[in-house]
């Protein structure tokens, strides 16, 4: 009986990939464990092994094809004596080969290209823009700062030889060498503390956590040592360093690997906290973070890494902390978010526009310092506010913004502020429950309708 070989899923976030190369040809005998093909995922080039044995009857998707959806038949394996052609035509027709010609919309969390924002407010008009992934933008920011300042170095698990667990530090070892791009043992509390000491000692460390879930191991050094020493030393000893890495839920990685720590770090005086959404912000804010004389927590997001945005082509593009960005102007309701929460905020605004509700969407970009002025000014115009974040609801960023609005804009509010957040539960693994646990675009739309009494 013929067996279809399907395009495999090779990472938690992979929905499609490139069939880079076939390592077998039609007519070859294959057995379990043989490498059939090389497949490029969003993160890496993977070898794809056979699980069944037989003869490779027909290749359905040629080498070099982009955008092959997971589970598309890519070849047919036949048993001895079977007719390859017949088996192949019995197989489902392969899905459209190229992503460009594929009209089916990608599922929400992997939209390849984000909607173009309102006119770029941070660069001179006419600046050339280049489509860049968040991943590349972060790498470029680190590389530029490392070229500029010899005291900047990068340290973390798998950042050097492996090129980063999420490939953010791709190429940095080659350019800067092992003195400045350093693989650590799995000892987060140790190397976070070591980074703090190195900063006291005159260097500018960038400490990468493979994900911020593992920074909980290092929390004491981040909070007690990095954040408080300047104060405790009467201003003598600062801690100029960056702790960075992916934060929040990826996809199906369950409770211990899915937490959003934005509110945790924003709670701490002495820390600065950044959580960018777009690639331009990732680049401009990371460069600022590396130059900042304080410890900066830089919260990235795995699902955003592969998304492309326009990034200004400028010699030295930095962005100030404490300045929110208005992505979309509107008059009926203010939607405030940051990081991946912006995905839901922008989608909701789009949908609300169709219903005649004009939403203003604000990306906070930095959570400490927090640009409350921009939020207040917007609410004075719209009189309503919805906040959006993936973190837990209790003591959330949204709670804080609500309190600020109550104190500073009470008379302008026509409805209580609604906080859309992740649910008050550890992240479940099951696909259906995970969907429920995350904040959704629909919840944002419903909240906006509720505060506008529609």
């Amino acid at each position: 009986m013929a067996t279809e070989i399907l395009m495999p899923a090779l990472s938690p976030t992979m929905e499609e990939g490139t069939l880079a190369k076939w390592l077998v040809k039609e007519g070859d005998t294959v057995s379990a464990g043989d490498i059939l093909a090389e497949i490029e995922t969003d993160k890496a080039t993977m070898e794809f092994e056979a699980v069944d044995e037989g003869t490779l009857g027909k290749i359905l998707v040629p080498a070099g094809t982009d955008g092959v959806k997971v589970n598309t038949p890519i070849a047919v394996l036949v048993e001895d004596g079977e007719d390859a052609e017949a088996a192949a035509s019995a197989a489902k027709a392969p899905a459209p080969a190229s992503a460009a010609t594929d009209s089916t919309p990608a599922p929400a969390p992997a939209t390849p290209k984000a909607a173009a924002p309102a006119p770029e407010p941070d660069v001179p008009e006419g600046t050339e823009m280049k489509s860049t992934t968040v991943r590349e933008a972060l790498r470029d920011a680190m590389a530029e700062e490392m070229r500029r300042d010899g005291t900047v170095f990068l340290m973390g698990e798998e950042v050097a030889e492996y090129q980063g667990a999420y490939k953010i530090s791709q190429g940095l070892l080659d350019e800067f060498g092992s003195k400045r791009v350093i693989d650590t043992p799995i000892t987060e509390h140790g190397f976070a503390g070591l980074g703090v000491g190195a900063a006291f000692g005159g260097l500018r460390p960038i400490v990468e956590f493979m994900t911020f879930n593992f920074a909980m191991q290092a929390m004491d050094q981040i909070v007690n040592s990095a954040a408080k020493t300047l104060y405790m030393s009467g201003g003598q000893m600062g801690c100029p360093m960056v702790f960075r890495g992916p934060n929040g839920a990826a996809a199906r990685v369950a409770a211990q690997h899915s937490q959003d720590y934005a509110a945790w770090y924003a709670h701490i005086p002495g820390l600065k906290v950044v959580q960018p959404y777009s690639a331009a912000d990732a680049k401009g804010l990371l460069k600022t973070a590396i130059r900042d004389p304080n410890p900066v927590i830089f919260l990235e997001n795995e699902i955003l890494y592969g998304r492309s945005f326009d990034v200004p082509v400028l010699e030295d593009f930095t962005l100030p902390f404490g300045k929110a960005r208005i992505w979309r102007e509107g008059t009926d309701v203010t939607i405030v978010s940051f990081g991946i929460g912006m995905t839901y905020a922008l989608e909701a605004a789009e949908a609300l526009a169709k219903d005649g509700i004009s939403a203003e969407v604000i990306d906070l970009r930095t959570l400490r310092p927090l640009d409350t002025a921009t939020v207040i000014e917007s609410v004075k115009k719209t009189n309503r506010c919805v906040t959006v974040e993936e973190g837990f609801p209790v003591c959330s960023i949204g709670n804080h913004i609500s309190a600020v609005l109550m104190q500073e804009a009470f008379d302008w509010l026509d409805a209580p502020v609604i906080n859309c957040t992740g649910k008050d539960v550890p992240m479940p693994y099951a696909a259906n429950l995970e969907k429920l646990a995350l904040v959704t675009t629909k919840e944002v739309i419903d909240a906006a309708k509720s505060v506008t009494y529609r």
Binding site: V51, I186, T187, R252
Partner: protein, 336 residues
């Protein structure tokens, strides 16, 4: 890893060899199937396969008694199968279904069975080590004669909490066996790139803990070492360290391209050192079983694994109100 010099000449029985063969093969076939289901998108997130390391858990489980406890990391499927958990329930957890050991809420990395004294399934590297010592603390406190096996990797062995735990375990003579599954890599980091003290079992000496290195591709050697460690613990002499030299054949997780080692390196170990092949050889050369009998076992195991996969596909997704259960032990489901 040195090549195995002589085929192990031991006083093992035919029955024991057949049991080892069956149990190790079950793990391997189960893991291959899990890899396949992952590729089809039926399993999501992180999925860390145990292929290559089967002799470690199978050998050590043979040294346990009913009531002994075990705890490990995210690379946990083999441990669960070896301690007698149902392959159907494990596979259904991998697919995130109601029939899984955690009702689909934990996934590949987080499964537990009170009945089998399996305490997880932990995603944070090294975190299971003090927890395992705590299980042993409870046993000692309750004077029940039980022993706890704490499994962790060569990468985890460098975590600070491991050293802290060694100190307490010896200080209080806790009946815990620290099992370092040295598969030579922590993700892409070879042991020697993470430490200049690569003989992990020797670190116990700094705290007064005895230990040894064991050939983890030889299930009989593993069992023998396990028995020795168990005897030490049950005699009230405190903890023991077993550094078991093993190898993982697959990538760290499903998304690891494994460019940090050569295909030849993997191939060589598969061909020369494979633990299942070893037992197969012992069975055949000792005339304990014929090729046909082993084929029959292979077939049975394939059947068990296929059945588990079918169960895991057909078991329904958890009911939606499960989102709000199990957050606290003593209250009705929360709802927002």
């Amino acid at each position: 890893m040195a090549t195995r010099k002589t085929p192990q000449k031991s006083n093992t029985s035919k029955e024991e060899l057949l049991t080892f063969y069956r149990e190790m093969l079950l793990i391997r076939r189960f893991e291959e199937k899990a890899g396949q289901l992952y590729g089809m998108g039926l399993i999501g997130g992180f999925c860390h396969l145990y292929i290559g390391q089967e002799a470690v858990v199978v050998g050590l489980e043979a040294a346990t008694e009913e009531g002994d406890k075990r705890i490990t990391s995210y690379r946990d499927h083999g441990h669960m199968l070896a301690c007698g958990m149902d392959p159907k329930g494990v596979m259904a957890e991998l697919t995130g279904r109601e029939g899984g050991y955690s009702k689909g809420k934990g996934g590949s990395m987080h499964m537990f069975s009170k009945e089998k004294h399996f305490y997880g399934g932990h995603g944070i590297v090294g975190a299971q080590v003090p927890i395992g010592a705590g299980l042993a603390f409870a046993d000692k406190y309750q004077e029940n004669g039980r022993v706890t096996f704490v499994y962790f990797g060569d990468g985890a062995a460098n975590q600070g909490q491991v050293a802290e735990t060694y100190n307490m375990a010896e200080l209080w003579d806790l009946p815990v066996i620290f099992v370092i599954e040295n598969n030579q890599y922590a993700m892409g980091t070879a042991v020697k790139r993470a430490t200049k003290s690569p003989d992990f079992w020797e670190r116990g000496a700094a705290f007064g803990i005895k230990g040894e290195a064991v050939d983890g591709m030889d299930v009989l050697a593993v069992k023998a070492a396990g028995e020795k460690a168990v005897a030490h613990c049950r005699a009230g002499k405190g903890p023991y360290i077993l550094e078991i030299m093993t190898y993982r054949y697959r990538g760290h997780s499903m998304s690891d391209p494994a460019k940090y080692r050569s295909r030849e390196e993997v191939q060589k170990i598969r061909e020369e050192r494979d633990a299942i092949e070893h037992v197969r050889d012992l069975l055949l050369t000792g005339k304990h079983a014929t090729e046909d009998e082993l084929k029959e076992i292979d077939k049975q195991i394939k059947g068990v694994v296929n059945e588990a996969a079918e169960f895991a596909k057909e078991s329904p997704e958890p009911a939606l109100d499960e989102l709000w259960t199990d957050i606290y032990a003593d209250t009705a489901p929360q709802n927002a």
